[in-house]
Subunit: 409 residues, 2 copies
Amino acid sequence: MTELTSEEIAAWDACDPLAPFREEFHVPEGLYYLDGNSLGALPRKTPERIRTLIEDEWGHDLIKSWNAHDWIHLPRRVGDQIARLIGADAGEVIAADTTSINLFKMLGAALGLRPGRGIIVSEQENFPTDLYIAQGLSSFLGGEHGLRMVPRSELNDALGDDVAVVALTHVDFKTGEVHDMAEVTRRAHDAGALVVWDLSHSVGALPVELNASGADFAVGCGYKYLNGGPGAPAFLFVAKRHQDDIDPPLSGWMGHASPFAFDADYRPAPGIGRQLCGTPSILAMAALEVGVEIATRVDMKELRKKSQRMGDLFLELVEGCGLEIACPLESKRRGSQVSLRHDDGYPIMQALIANGVIGDFRAPDVLRFGLTPLYLRYSDVWEAALVLKKIVETEAWRRPEFQKRQLVT
Amino acid sequence: MTELTSEEIAAWDACDPLAPFREEFHVPEGLYYLDGNSLGALPRKTPERIRTLIEDEWGHDLIKSWNAHDWIHLPRRVGDQIARLIGADAGEVIAADTTSINLFKMLGAALGLRPGRGIIVSEQENFPTDLYIAQGLSSFLGGEHGLRMVPRSELNDALGDDVAVVALTHVDFKTGEVHDMAEVTRRAHDAGALVVWDLSHSVGALPVELNASGADFAVGCGYKYLNGGPGAPAFLFVAKRHQDDIDPPLSGWMGHASPFAFDADYRPAPGIGRQLCGTPSILAMAALEVGVEIATRVDMKELRKKSQRMGDLFLELVEGCGLEIACPLESKRRGSQVSLRHDDGYPIMQALIANGVIGDFRAPDVLRFGLTPLYLRYSDVWEAALVLKKIVETEAWRRPEFQKRQLVT
């Protein structure tokens, strides 16, 4: 592999069946954008869709648009499209709120379905907001409720008969390591617990099989691999078998069986509908819909193949330059990202950004590079890896301007 | 007043100091839009602001925009602007999530500050989502928690020593009746309870004095009189004195003291910052900011004067046509709307809409007309009232096509 030439990489791109998708995105000239796992690129159709929504639907048709342009069904419509990406059925997914809020809903639902059990199990390397939500929820409920946070290797031992729910992120945000969803779900069920999967780093990045894995609940993010825009609405999944048994803790009017009856008493909508709470942002939902629609046209197996090949290429190219590999070497155990470790990871990332390679830094020492096969070429990965290698080898990151901390990393 | 002529009304418009604001909004030709209390009109600056945000900030600058375009501070920046409209100080308001979610946060906060008291008091005519959230929260917490729902006249009697918080909407969504905020707050405090005010039908519609009234908490809507767009982000207010004593039940990473440290333990941000939860939609926040900025340039006393005069005019014009008045006659007790009652309110509203007058119907029998002095003229109110009167008097609403129920009313 080390004898690879840029001509050979160009040949890979020329044969890439996913190459045409790049045309559907705006990718700035001269930028190697390896941060689509933090904020996905702009689909070319989004500006016009939003212009129409704002000027014609909001501006001209005003309140009538809730019926005339079917705004009222956007959360379900987008949810049904996302369902196709994650091995769920129509009516099992809805777009709503944020990943954090949706996780609160799903953990609350799980606790309600497992009376007498108060413990949420998670791993200490889970994405912080997942842990924070579990902590806040547990202390809000008090009593026997609590978060049991353990290293991944001790997850099975943590499954006592006090555990209501296991909350895990399918692809680790920092290391990119992939959980065996079916196996973890099976073990949790054997212990009498339910499972909530956070798919933020999975949806649109690799095939996911929620129903085939027996999953109970899931949440996920719209602004990463779904390209829904900054802070796009999130989504949630509830397996059909649980839907009508849930008493939603966040019981807003959009989840009411008949919101425009204006009854004084909450009566949850049947099915997934009760997982809505307040009025969703239609601008944000419409932008998400554009990104999701693209993903539904992608052969996820092809996407996964390209993503794995890109990761292998990147790791091969930076080998031996002084960066520790922080993600699984074996591509089938790795999500659609590459993670590397260096004590001076922060200034290295700043130097990269100054040189047109965008990744991100995850404290305390991880350099993270997202691989988004819909708009990245093998040649981009090649160039980015060579820039990184050079910066590390020449210690170009030692310059004072690269030490300055940004608010958002 | 009944001898008024359309020439006189035109003269009112000619002398209206707020008239220039109409130019800042897109108002469709030939439409009498009296539903800005349900969805505010489109500010003319919004399409270009959102185009720039999408194409330049998201499309071109991508992830760097969180720092470069200060996306990270949008919720606080918009919150500080809203604070000026509701008698709050900078740092007491933040834009976030939905009204329903924010009410959950504020009720949860209030319960946390009043240990040993589990009751939420509200009135049975409150907006349904406010009641639903209180119900869902109470049954989620269980035990001594509950919602005590009473008629407005019995609010004082409901203030037992088991009451943690009183949750009311300042301007009733259906009747437009205004609560005496200072008086109700004083009585609640005397009984040892806190107060959450829902300002959804107040903010941008009439002067509000939260701090002068001693209010503890408030929430409100961005898509009505703030003209933030369909499903715009909501906001919340926490009086400075309470901010650092709150353990947020919805404890997401954006409310962490140091979100990009990626600590495993939740540590709430100081002040209002801990009221954020997940990542906000930047598209939705930016659209809200445009609407709010307009409102900050308005003399709220002039706005109130025009709104009251419009309401008086409307009521005067429809007098005696067979509609029951469902809002206070006295303009100082009435929000920025007029409400009328008729057993056939639904088809009457459909007939109105077919004739270019947009109001809305609130089950079971209320016709609601929002008065938005920034983009409505006295002549619009005049025309709308005459159309309404004619439809009722000629029974034009009896035609079969007006009986058909829409999903969203």
